[in-house]
């Protein structure tokens, strides 16, 4: 498993795709942060994180599209499947590699908050009374970072599952984009639905509605469990795809 993990991580940076992903992610994060906080004179990070989640629509497929599709095309999956590695080992190795890159980039993008903190410091010095809290709420930011990492992991698992279904990377990418897009806009659709029951179900499934608790600094256990379950289910499905192919 560790060998596959290392190989995948390495292959992100042999091909341009790893650099493209990191570059685009950091640039997008920096721009969004700039426009949602600094430019609009606000310490509130909610809209920054929400918009960042939407950027996953494009970014996550970049990470996941090649994971299995390429192996299938080059017939190298035969090597992995005949090596003394379990299917779970293979899937987890790949998942962890994509996750490492994803989580790493999210953590690096946290430097975006430094300007806010430094502004806050100067503002606090200028504030004579010091009665109100000035500056970003660290708890909120931490909760949000945890939240988007979990959402991202769920999406990585989905993208990986899609990649295991096809040998065409582009097809894998497009389908992943579509799935993530639908999962994210479910919440927006909800505003136009009048039937309570449907709204309830949709908001239960919605990725974004569960994120709202994180934006207020709450580490919502049910949401954490929900995101982890999505990841788990799709990892399991990926394993099943390979199991089934063996028996087919």
């Amino acid at each position: 498993m560790f060998a596959i993990y290392k190989k995948e991580l390495r292959s992100y940076f042999i091909n341009a795709i790893g650099y493209v992903y990191v570059g685009v992610f950091l640039a997008a994060a920096a721009l969004l942060c700039c426009y949602t906080t600094l430019v609009s004179n606000s310490y509130k990070t909610t809209s920054y994180f929400t918009m960042l989640i939407f950027s996953f629509i494009i970014l996550i497929p970049l990470l996941t599209m090649k994971l299995f599709a390429e192996e299938k095309k080059l017939r190298t999956e035969q090597l992995l499947l005949t090596a003394p590695v379990s299917i779970w080992g293979m899937v987890m190795g790949k998942f962890l590699a994509a996750s490492t890159l994803f989580v790493g980039t999210v953590l690096v993008s946290c430097i975006n908050f430094f300007p806010m903190y430094s502004y806050a410091n100067t503002e606090r010095l200028a504030d004579e009374y010091g009665t109100t809290h000035i500056g970003p709420v660290t708890g909120e930011i931490v909760a949000c970072v945890v939240g988007i990492i979990l959402i991202g992991l769920a999406f990585v698992a989905i993208g990986m599952f899609v990649s295991s279904l096809t040998e065409n990377q582009l097809a894998a990418a497009v389908i992943t984009v579509a799935i993530i897009l639908v999962m994210l806009i479910l919440d927006l659709l909800n505003q136009y639905i009048n039937v309570y029951a449907i709204r309830f179900v949709i908001s239960w499934f919605s990725v974004l509605s569960r994120f709202s608790n994180f934006t207020t600094g709450i580490l919502d256990f049910s949401a954490i469990l929900y995101y982890l379950s999505i990841a788990g289910v799709f990892l399991l499905l990926t394993v099943r795809v390979y199991d089934k192919r063996r028996w087919g």
């Binding site: 017939r75 499947l81 005949t82």
Partner: protein, 364 residues
């Protein structure tokens, strides 16, 4: 070392492997031979745990591949039909990846160096696989299979697409590997198995049609009963004499002539050496014999004979004969020879590739 027991694999309604059973002992080199689509690759894929079987069992080094895949796979080195190479890696990175993947415990640098020396890829060790020629890629694939020094090595058509020099090198390599590994090799080239293997298992349409020691088949080939003779004398009478002579089952005039001598092809009965009697008979009649040349019975003939027969007959008897091979080799020889006799009436000097062409067409 390897035990395949009543293995069946269906792809939907299509039966790729139909009740195959055979065993391979430690240190044996076995060739799986058969036309395209005979089920060779499927058998190998099941053996390596890439595919599962519909029924039957496969065990390697005493470990069932389906029940205990991880342990069993540790004993296997596999080179699939298309070498599974990561084109963007260098040879070194690729081999190190495989070393880690297989959880190899041997000293890494030393082990990889040894392998590179065996397959002769030292000079491309630092190059990216994408830029290597087909022959080198194949060798890197072989190197991959050797990592961890597995007891069982399985090669699926290892010499396809190589130039003649490389083919010879790889055959030598395989023969050397056979000294301390158990090797299974699939191919549709008869010379290859003849050159490399101790035993030949012929598969056609998912069934084993023959399982013989290579030397038995080779002996049957060398045990010549077909000759081209050049005789000076009246063509018709000579032919009549040849055809009426006891011991000769077939005689025909060839268009070819050598001075005033006519050329004939003759074939004797099994176990009869007609050369001497033929000489005396001709001397008696005063027809000088100016040439006699043995016509090699090619492995192609044998293959065609066996494959032809297999389509109609039950093959179980043949499997039983294998058990006897150690004791009654002459039995086997005679059987093989008989098959050839039966077939040569129908097909002469059959071109091997043509057989496959026909075979494929008939399947469609």
């Amino acid at each position: 070392m390897i035990k395949i027991d009543h293995l069946v694999k269906n792809y939907g309604a299509n039966c790729a492997v139909d009740d195959i059973s055979f065993e391979v002992q430690r240190g044996e080199i076995v060739g799986l031979l058969g036309p395209n689509g005979a089920g060779k690759s499927t058998t190998m894929n099941i053996l390596t745990g890439y595919l599962s079987a519909t029924s039957g069992s496969v065990s390697v080094a005493g470990l069932d591949v389906l029940d205990n895949p991880l342990e069993a796979k540790k004993h296997i080195g596999y080179l699939p039909e298309q070498p599974p190479l990561y084109l963007d890696m260098t040879v070194e990175e690729y081999l190190i990846f495989n070393y880690n993947l297989k959880g190899c415990k041997l000293n890494r640098t030393k082990h990889l160096e040894e392998i590179c020396d065996i397959v002769k890829i030292r000079d491309v060790y630092k190059r990216v696989i994408k830029n290597l020629s087909k022959g080198y890629r194949q060798r890197v694939g072989i190197a991959q299979a050797l990592i961890g020094s597995p007891e069982v090595i399985i090669f699926d058509e290892p010499t396809v697409g190589l130039d003649p020099k490389q083919i010879i090198e790889i055959r030598n390599l395989l023969r050397n590997l056979g000294k301390d590994h158990t090797v299974i090799l699939s191919t549709h080239i008869l010379q290859e198995v003849q050159a490399v293997c101790d035993r030949i298992v012929i598969i056609n349409k998912g069934k084993i049609v023959a399982d013989e020691l290579t030397e038995n088949i080779t002996r049957a080939v060398e045990n010549n009963r077909r000759f081209q003779v050049k005789i000076c004398g009246p063509q018709k009478e000579v032919l009549q004499m040849l055809r009426s002579k006891p011991g000769i089952i077939y005689a025909e005039v060839l268009a070819q002539r050598d001075g005033d001598a006519y050329c004939y092809t003759i074939e004797s009965e099994v176990g009869v050496d007609i050369r001497k009697t033929l000489f005396y008979t001709l001397a008696e009649k005063n027809w000088p014999l100016v040439g006699m040349e043995a016509l090699g019975m090619s492995l192609e003939d044998i293959f065609i004979a066996i494959v032809d027969q297999s389509t109609s007959k039950n093959r179980y008897e043949r499997r039983d004969t294998r058990a006897k091979t150690a004791r009654g080799r002459s039995d086997v020889e005679q059987q093989v020879a008989k098959k050839v006799v039966e077939s040569t009436g129908k097909k002469q000097g059959g071109e091997f590739s043509a057989l496959f062409g026909n075979d494929d067409e008939s399947e469609q």
